[in-house]
């Protein structure tokens, strides 16, 4: 690409912005590493996976149960929210009458804007007692999954809708000209065509689910244990930081930063798989 002189100011502004964005990420990572270094250096990273309990004051740093809990609640929410969000989108986009579709879409968009603590409040006062009526204590992995499902459903529905809206018109005409039914057009042509966008939305939602703190903290019970049933109370990595940061010192504090590092690792893996899927767009 040739650079003319008029490009120079723009290039400088863009380059500086890009450097700042990249630098912030790098600095956060460095900061996390620095703060967690004392304990990582002392006991080694492996102990965080192998220790049999989370008693940081007694030098037992087992984060594994919380890692599993985080994964369970995040994956569970994605598994429930994906079919729901996709079905809602397909219905409003292709089958619902206009008078229903438009208000519905507005509502979904609104749902995306509700602060997580409000979801937490609702979950605490409605969802948890409801689950407790079947299987006490109520505050559980299931409650966390359900709350997260409601929170990430709009992300999945809205991104899927945008991806479907961006499918070129000529696919639709080609499909109609071949005498395809609406169901075949949607499942056989439109969904594959919108696959990259839909997958991107799901990964975005998954990242949000893994990172969500407040709502999950309020409904999940926060007992450190590897979940063995949907009704077990769990504590996620994010909740662990939020719960203990206020009073933690020394190795305890440093080990909370290890929780943060672990979370970033999870999201990094997710982002990498996202870019791999995005790169595979042509091979749909």
């Amino acid at each position: 690409m040739s650079r003319s002189r008029t490009d120079q100011p723009l290039i400088s502004v863009l380059a500086i912005s890009a450097v700042i964005a990249a630098a912030i990420l790098l600095l956060i990572l460095l900061f996390l590493l620095r703060e967690s270094w004392p304990v990582l250096n002392k006991v080694g990273i492996l102990r965080f996976f192998t220790d049999d309990g989370w008693y940081p004051l007694e030098a037992r740093f087992g984060l594994a149960p919380m890692l599993w809990a985080t994964l369970a609640v995040g994956i569970g929410a994605v598994l429930v929210a994906t079919p729901l969000g996709l079905a809602a989108t397909l219905f409003t986009r292709f089958y619902a009458p206009r008078w229903l579709a438009l208000p519905f879409q507005r509502m979904v968009a609104l749902l995306a804007g509700i602060p997580s603590v409000v979801f937490g409040l609702w979950g605490l006062t409605v969802l948890v007692p409801f689950i407790a009526a079947f299987e006490p204590p109520g505050a559980s992995l299931l409650a966390g999954i359900l709350i997260l499902t409601i929170m990430i459903l709009p992300t999945i529905a809205l991104t899927a809708d945008a991806a479907l809206a961006a499918v070129p018109e000529h696919y639709l005409r080609g499909s109609a000209a071949l005498g395809f039914s609406r169901a075949t057009t949607i499942l056989g042509v439109l969904l594959p065509a919108a696959k990259a966008g839909i997958t991107g939305g799901i990964l975005l939602a998954a990242a949000r689910a893994l990172g969500e703190t407040m709502a999950v903290l309020m409904v999940a019970g926060n007992v450190v244990q590897t979940p063995t049933s949907l009704f077990d109370p769990i504590r996620t990595l994010t909740a662990n930081i939020a719960l203990e940061m206020a009073y933690a010192t020394g190795d305890h504090r440093a080990s909370l930063f290890v929780s943060g590092l672990m979370l970033m690792g999870l999201v990094l893996v997710l982002a990498m798989s996202a870019s791999r899927l995005g790169g595979g767009r042509l091979h749909g």
Binding site: L178, G179, G188, V189, L282
Partner: protein, 288 residues
């Protein structure tokens, strides 16, 4: 001017390619017995705010290539879309008049549109293979119309790809994405996708205009080879192409702010002895 009368459309394999240069036309043969395949009677088509087409009547003959020529915006594509009811997809599009395909009334309320579209394939200006593998692109229409047998599926896929001259180019990579093919290959795949359903009629909306000259020539040869086996209606802005491939030609023009069919006849007659002065001006390049 002597017309070399050849039974062209019935014996496509005997046609030599020299016969379709821009030289002395051997085209516009009396196509066996001109037998109407599609009858259009006094067709008018209007969108919400404007009339796109009015008073079009013509017969499209079985096994022949009928070219529709004329400037942009005079209703050729609308006309083509009305033949397989693709106009249904456009909100506010109204059709008056009658279209009969072998005496099936296309626009009757009780017409089975899916069955109709199985009989009438359509090729678009921009190649539009689905973002799936080459094989899936061809199998999906078959499965949609109830063909599930593995052997029949692969046999029909191979036959369609062979018919469009794509088999040797793609037989080793049937499961690779169709969108990785070149533009010309994609368009031939789209033609194969239409042919795989064994339709009787093919509608083509400027099938070569988005292709480079070499691919365009390949696709044009392919269309020529369809003569006699399918009834082809092709919209084209390329007059030389229309001259080379068509048996019949229809000339559309804007009149009184609506598109209409000015003249319809044997291709040779339209190009060499047009009856209407607008046609004469258009085919000679004086207008349009």
């Amino acid at each position: 001017m002597t017309v070399i009368e050849k039974n062209v459309c019935c014996t496509p394999s005997e046609m030599s390619s020299e016969a379709f240069t821009l030289g002395p036309l051997q085209l516009g043969p009396p196509c066996c017995d001109p037998e109407p395949h599609i009858q259009i009677k006094n067709l008018s088509l209007s969108y919400a705010d404007k009339t796109a087409l009015s008073g079009v009547s013509l017969d499209i003959y079985r096994g022949c290539i009928t070219a529709l020529i004329g400037p942009s915006g005079c209703g050729k594509t609308s006309f083509l879309s009305s033949l397989n009811r693709l106009t249904d997809m456009i909100a506010g599009c109204k059709i008056k008049g009658e279209i009969l395909v072998d005496s099936v009334n296309v626009h009757a309320a009780n017409t089975d549109v899916q069955a109709l579209r199985r009989r009438i394939g359509m090729i678009f200006q921009k190649p539009n293979p689905f973002p799936l593998s080459i094989r899936r692109n061809l199998e999906m229409p078959l499965k949609e119309h109830g063909i599930r047998d593995r052997y029949v599926l692969s046999h029909r896929v191979e036959k369609a790809l062979t018919d469009v001259g794509l088999w040797d180019e793609v037989k080793d990579r049937l499961d690779s994405p169709a969108l990785a093919l070149s533009g010309g290959q994609q368009q031939r795949l789209c033609i194969a996708r239409a042919l795989v359903l064994e339709p009787e009629i093919l509608l083509m909306d400027e099938p070569c205009s988005a292709l480079d000259p070499l691919s365009s020539a390949v696709v044009e040869d392919l269309i020529k080879s369809l003569r006699g086996r399918y009834t082809v209606v092709i919209v084209t802005h390329n007059l030389a192409q229309a001259r080379r491939i068509a048996n019949y030609a229809g000339f559309f023009w804007m009149q009184e702010r609506t598109g209409t069919l000015i003249e319809f006849g044997r291709c040779q007659q339209i190009f060499e002895a047009p009856a209407h002065q607008l046609t004469a001006a258009y085919v000679s390049g004086a207008r349009g």
